[in-house]
């Protein structure tokens, strides 16, 4: 099967997916990792600082690869579903922990 050639025709949708659900995804990664390592969220602590860098880095990566999605709708679907799933996981982790 030959794959369709990639182009930038839907760049607005792809880029906005990188920005909006992409940001949500980056923060969700931070939230899940933070919940797993029991961070307090105080900026003085090492874990909080690492998580802050993690969120920034993930967002940069997502913004860089969002142009690789086959379509804008797919970008929104994948990144949106990913962030919803991770946020759900975070909620579950919080419930389990409390």
């Amino acid at each position: 099967m030959t794959r369709a050639r990639l182009d930038n025709r839907q760049w607005v949708a792809k880029l906005s997916a990188g920005i909006v659900p992409g940001c949500a995804l980056a923060l969700a990664v931070m939230a899940v990792v933070g919940a797993l390592c029991h961070t307090t969220g105080s900026p003085m602590t090492l874990s909080a600082q690492f998580l802050m860098w993690l969120a920034g880095l993930v967002w940069v990566v997502v913004l860089s690869v969002c142009f690789l999605f086959r379509s804008g709708a797919r970008a929104w679907a994948v990144l949106g579903a990913g962030s919803v799933a991770l946020w759900l996981l975070f909620v579950i982790l919080k419930i389990v922990a409390s």
Binding site: L6, L27, M30, A31, T45, W53, G56, L57, W59, S64
Partner: protein, 513 residues
């Protein structure tokens, strides 16, 4: 390295748009950032002497403190003992005048010394704002906006910059092996620019990756920490480290320095900053923060690492930011900061960052030139005799913003170096933006072929003037004047070459528009 050709094409397009959006902001950020590598020595250089008596020996500091505090009781709440006084910090003891003094930027300070007869003498010193302005210009990517507004915009530009880096690498990788060392100066102008752009971009890539990621974090850390504050249990903070109960009096500065030398050998303390916590829970206690440096390690700040000490025993309470004494985790986080600030390895690294900063600015300039040339080519192919509006605006902006930034920075330094007293912020800001706006206006108003030679030669001339002023000050025995003069001369020479070339081209009627 094999990448699908359609992916390369996608990223080539992303790269050119990301680059063109961020390029001019990044030019200002890198040019001003390169200069701000030497913020502290320049600040010292531009600060006029105060006429305060020579600082007392460290051992006599308690006497100085006692006499000064008797006259200025409010200084007890927040004061700094300077271990190596210089022009910027002229007294052994100093404190911020009025409220504040804990924020960003230099504050108006009071400095104290002892006269030969043993009486306390104080002086008020307003800082010269020129160098701090250049640092702010760097942080705010040249935007004359308040910090809170400029930071998110800077963050967006940093994100675009990061995307431009990734896409540039992907677009460039397939051709990497073929063209890396081939700067084809012969085969047409645009090819030479492209080869230079690739060469500069590739060899400073690690530097640029660090800058992009750290800048994103610098811009958005407050927001991200705010999110963390909502997500996690902030009330479980067990990090309030309280100093031992106050005994009679805090240790004398000499004893603090000795205690620190035992606990962190090799760390050179610069200042001991004492502050009384405001009343309230845990309040009313004296805290001591030591700032210093250690060339063997990266520093968290742009010039300093920090330690929190118990002022009564000299024991290190927090070594989280103390170079060489940090936990591995904090050392890793510090490495990112140090890589951004160039605050590791001492002077050679700072000079290297100066070169990389100027080189980065040049990289963005070449990027813009390539974009303009590519658009012109396609417009000519489509039969347009003159530039489209977009191409014209961008080519004028590229010329005006880059030369405007360079002339503005030189003018700010000249104004500060020529004035007898400290230059207020408004004057510095007005001279920079006045020059910048004038340059942009000139690039739009001058005849197309005249803009480049005029502005480039003015930029060269402004740096020449800076070199002369620096040499003039050097004659009065200020040691870094020579370095400033040589750097300004090199920048002037670097601008003179293309300026002269475009002048001769203008005369011959063949010039680039």
């Amino acid at each position: 390295m094999k990448i699908r050709s359609d992916i390369v094409a996608v990223y080539r397009e992303v790269h050119s748009w990301a680059g063109i959006l961020a390029g001019l902001f990044l030019f200002v950020a890198f040019y001003a950032g390169a200069v701000s590598m030497f913020e502290q020595p320049l600040q010292n250089w531009l600060t006029p002497p105060t006429g305060l008596p020579a600082p007392v020996p460290l051992d006599r500091t308690p006497e100085l403190m006692e006499k000064t505090f008797a006259a200025f009781p409010e200084a007890r709440a927040h004061y700094t003992v300077v271990l190596a006084p210089d022009r910027m910090r002229p007294g052994r003891l100093m404190w911020p005048k009025g409220p504040g003094g804990h924020g960003h930027g230099p504050a108006v300070i009071m400095a104290a010394a002892l006269a030969p007869d043993g009486t306390a003498v104080t002086v008020t010193q307003a800082p010269s704002e020129a160098v701090h302005f250049i640092d702010e210009l760097h942080q705010k990517i040249g935007l004359p906006l308040p910090h809170e507004v400029a930071m998110p915009i800077m963050g967006v530009v940093a994100l675009v910059y990061a995307v431009a880096l990734v896409s540039g690498v992907i677009a460039f990788l397939p051709a990497l092996t073929r063209t890396l060392f081939a700067v084809r100066l012969e085969g047409g102008r645009s090819r030479a620019w492209l080869d230079l752009h690739n060469l500069f971009g590739f060899f400073s890539l690690p530097f640029h990756v660090v800058m992009a990621v750290t800048s994103v974090v610098f811009a958005f850390h407050e927001q991200i920490f705010a999110v963390q504050g909502h997500l996690f249990h902030q009330d479980r903070v067990a990090h309030v480290r309280i100093a031992a109960m106050p005994q009679a009096a805090p240790l004398a500065p000499r004893a603090v320095v000795d205690a620190l030398a035992r606990q962190a050998p090799g760390f050179v303390p610069d200042t001991l900053e004492y502050a009384m916590r405001p009343m309230g829970p845990g309040g009313g206690k004296l805290t001591l923060r030591v700032a210093g440096h250690d060339v063997r390690f990266g520093l968290r700040g742009s010039v300093s690492g920090f330690a929190t000490l118990d002022p009564y025993t000299g024991r290190v309470i927090s070594a989280d930011y103390l170079p060489g004494r940090q936990s591995t985790g904090f050392a890793i986080v510090t490495a990112f900061f140090a890589l951004h600030f160039g605050s590791y390895g001492g002077a050679p690294v700072r000079w290297g960052y100066l070169v990389l900063g100027f080189g980065g600015a040049f990289l963005f300039y070449t990027g813009n030139r390539l974009w303009i040339m590519a658009r012109r080519r396609s417009e000519r192919r489509r039969g347009m005799a003159t530039d489209s509006r977009g191409t014209w605006i961008l080519s004028r902006l590229t010329l005006g913003c880059t030369t405007g930034c360079m002339i503005g920075v030189a003018v700010v330094l000249v104004v500060a170096a020529m004035s007898s007293g400290p230059v207020p912020y408004a004057v510095v800001s007005a001279s920079y933006y006045g020059v910048f706006v004038a340059s942009v206006a000139a690039s739009f108003c001058l005849a197309p072929r005249m803009g480049a030679p005029v502005l480039l030669l003015v930029a060269a001339a402004s740096n020449l003037v800076l070199a002369l002023v620096a040499m003039g000050r050097g004659a009065r025995g200020l040691d870094i004047s020579f370095g400033i003069a040589v750097t300004a001369l090199l920048v002037a020479a670097g601008l003179m070459v293309p300026g002269w070339r475009s002048l001769t081209q203008m005369a011959a009627g063949t010039g680039e528009r």
